[in-house]
Symmetry: C2
Subunit: 341 residues, 2 copies
DNA sequence: TCAGAAACTTTACGCGCGGAAATAAATTGA
DNA sequence: TCAATTTATTTCCGCGCGTAAAGTTTCTGA
């Protein structure tokens, strides 16, 4: 390869004996040129190994192939996994995904939006920080760029894809009530709408079963869920403030912290005899299977959420249609029975 | 803001009553224009809220402000955290970091390199996949782009920054030997040089203390360390194949799996009486403090590695000097005593 | 106050490519 | 075989900005 320097499309075109506009057409859509021409180009491509200048390409195209992905907290394996799934789908569809993380900070989310905007993206997939988000900035962004929101349903963009918290929470509440003492609810910090929705879903599910909801309240906006679960958990256990022997945590990361607290306080967790308490989570985080004991939880349908988000976005991009109403797609959770509850 | 449409620098310049070249100078370096001019520009900026077209900017600059970060596996919190630290430093220095993850796959690392190259980055910070990397592709990349390697010392690029595995492993081996039965070594899959270096360091440290090294061998190239630790661990415990009651794991993720295995097999882990085994890790992963029991480990100096990597890269970029010899910077680990060993 | 330096304006070119328009060549089908 | 159609070529312009060169204004300091 690289017989001589081929930097520009002009070079490459003359070197391969094809006109530049045709080469340009090829790079925009290989199917748009005749098969024989395509072969000649690809032959030359193998010899000279040329790639078009990304900046020159995107400067002139009305529509780039860039897709922005913004997640609130990349150190959370849920988002790492979602990002992975989404990236893959975008690449497969010939798009160029760029991943940003707000790292839990409002200003970084705003920065990411600005940076992303300067990429003139064809579309964006955003899991907002939530309460800490600059909603105005998000709205302005979504007004200019086709945007699909996932995970946390802020009223932004043309579509939302996420989990049906009512269904999933009811599922595990039912299970816990059916198999032992009804659960109290260890809520997550109210960082985003999921926190409130899950709390509400817990209350509704409990009342439907004729039980009294009992909530362990949590404040703040920290994303250090495990730490909070551990510290709060130790305090609550020490002060005997946990109202029931069964705790449903708002998410798995809280549960991981609480499991550690129980362990450190000498409480055995599980559903067998000799166990002092049951702990359940929500999300089926990648590590939920490695806790001690393994965590009973409700899984979110990662791949369905990722896939649907991307599909919705592609539809938005290709039709360009600002739909009259915001589309909301929710997926059901599934019970994942392990040893902790 | 946005009194009328200000899309181009030309628009903005005339709207703010300043010549375009001066405005251009300002955006390249605000300090390069007179204070009074700077104020006028920033005043206009507040009114019109204009940002230069990223593609047009980068097309003409010989040197972009882009910096690429490639990590092998973003779902690993070690890399998520490193990425966060590195991103922040780059942004603070006025660069534009873009994060790529190989997601454990060779082809995705190659793709990331290609994509990154098309961004004409000023430099790159790469934690290679390791054995699975396309070394030729990495070398070709590093030949064109100033590159600093971190975490996994493949012989690529102008500089490497990482941990001193000899020091850190010796530290924990010493501790374990001093406080109980000498450890056997549960190695990680040989995905990268760290795996071999840590094994060698373990052997050296044991021999120095007059002890016989005993290694639990592991094959494959999987990045699912926890899963491997769990499954292998359960098998080994069931078959009573663990040679000592103290296990030093090659990294914390293996240790997390092994802790789960011990729990599930009914073995109590810790250093007190009544404990069947001690388990130690390496890295001080973000979750090592939430395991049951909390994991005794050796910390890597995250912030020092991130900071130094970025510093080295900036030096490379600004001096442009291909140094005669490859610089290697290693940081010491610190013992983190928790309850597991 | 005035020369010299520093900063600014004006003018102009080019980066590498997308894409339009007019023309030429190759392919298709009857 | 020949027109009708498709595809390729030639030519050209423009995207938004970096940057150089030459001229003009503003600032600096003795």
């Amino acid at each position: 390869m690289a017989e001589r320097k081929v930097q520009t499309m002009e070079d490459f075109a003359s070197a391969s004996g094809i006109s530049r506009p045709t080469v340009s057409k090829y790079f925009n859509d290989p199917e748009s040129v005749r098969a024989t021409t395509r072969e000649r180009i690809e032959l030359a491509l193998a010899r000279f190994d040329y790639t078009p200048n990304l900046f020159a390409v995107n400067q002139n195209r009305k529509q780039t192939k860039n897709i922005g992905i913004i997640v609130p907290y990349l150190a959370d394996p849920f988002f790492a996994e979602m990002a992975r799934l989404i990236e893959r789908r975008c690449i497969d569809a010939g798009y160029w995904p760029t991943l940003f993380s707000a790292h839990g900070q409002r200003q970084m989310e705003v920065n990411a939006l600005e940076l992303l905007r300067s990429l003139k993206p064809a579309g964006a997939l955003i899991a907002p920080l939530g309460r800490r988000s600059d909603l105005e900035a998000l709205h302005k962004f979504a007004a200019d760029v086709p945007t699909v929101i996932f995970d946390s349903n802020q009223e932004i963009g043309e579509a939302f894809v996420g989990s049906d918290n009512s269904q999933s929470i009811a599922l595990i509440v039912d299970y816990l009530c059916r198999t032992g003492e009804p659960p109290c609810f260890f809520e997550m910090p109210p960082v985003n709408p999921n926190a409130n929705k899950r709390r509400a879903a817990y209350i509704a599910a409990m009342e439907k079963l004729g039980q009294t909801p009992q909530i362990i309240k949590v404040g703040g906006e920290s994303w250090d869920f495990e730490k909070m679960g551990l510290e709060e958990g130790k305090r609550l256990i020490a002060e005997r403030k946990i109202p029931t022997n069964t705790v449903l945590c708002s998410n798995d990361r809280i549960a991981i912290g609480l499991l550690a607290a129980a362990y450190q306080m000498g409480l055995r967790v599980g559903r067998g005899e000799g166990c002092a308490m049951r702990i359940a989570g929500h999300d089926d985080h990648p590590w939920a299977q490695f806790t001690c004991p393994p965590l009973t939880t409700v899984s979110q349908n990662y791949s369905a959420i990722a896939e649907t988000s991307v599909e919705k976005l592609f539809t938005l991009i290709t039709t360009g249609a600002k739909s009259e109403s915001r589309q909301v797609t929710l997926f059901d959770g599934k019970l994942v029975l392990r040893a902790s509850a």
